[in-house]
Amino acid sequence: MEQSLAKIVFYAYTAVIVVGAVMAVTERGLVRSLVGLIATMFGVAGLYLLMAAPFMAFMQILIYIGGVSVLIFFSIMLTHAAPTGDEAKRRPLRKRINAIFAMLVPAAVLSVGIVKHGTSGFEKPEAVSLPDLGLGLMGPYLLAFELISVVLFVAMAGAVMLAWRQWGRK
């Protein structure tokens, strides 16, 4: 009973993810495309909950939906992207063929790898307690934790420097 319920929820989240991803790629207007991306992010957060990682689901909603999508929305506003603008123009046939080829090659190789040679693993994942995650961050993975904070600081400082209006004007 529990397993079949989990299957139903899994397929529901997968449907949200696939529809959102297709919408994010094919929509003409960038704002609609961003809405598709946000739907995909919610679906991925649901899958994190389903695989017993509630902290990751929380972080997905907090960082991706709360942070990154707002940043993308700002860049849509700052470039004055209209639905009738760049994205609505026709593309050459060669570009479509390139895009389909870029999609099919990894799809063919990796799906054969997953379906034929994938390991089965457990069916019921165990949740990791939050104190264990914190101890991991403060113990064996301390260097990665500090490095990511340096990377974030450099990215923010670099963004401010790049976008500074007076830069290079004199």
Partner: protein, 102 residues
């Protein structure tokens, strides 16, 4: 099919749709959206691999957390770069920005 394989297939779908869009999109912001799709697939794949096998689950979750941090840093930088490009070229279309002068 086991649930690990199903999760990996969903991650693969995200990667492939993101790659398609990355080539298909004309504007830099559209390419950024497709990049975020691919990074979401990567995080999903990492967490699924660590939760459903005997691998260290703490390592998997923290690795996916680092991917999220890098995605946030990358989105910040791309926002600034897109801003500079639009101010300079009056467009954010990638094909026109990549033309050489001369």
């Amino acid at each position: 099919m086991s649930s690990l394989q199903l999760y990996q297939l969903v991650a693969l779908v995200l990667l492939c749709v993101g790659l398609y869009g990355f080539i298909w999109r004309r504007s830099l912001v559209g390419m950024l959206i497709c990049l975020e799709l691919m990074l979401n697939g990567a995080g999903l794949s990492i967490v699924a691999a660590s939760q459903h096998t005997s691998a260290d689950a703490v390592l998997g979750q923290l690795g996916a957390l680092l991917v999220m941090g890098l995605a946030a840093a990358e989105a910040t930088l791309v926002l600034a770069i897109v801003l500079v490009v639009t101010r300079r070229f009056k467009t954010s279309e990638s094909i026109r920005v990549s033309e050489l002068k001369g």
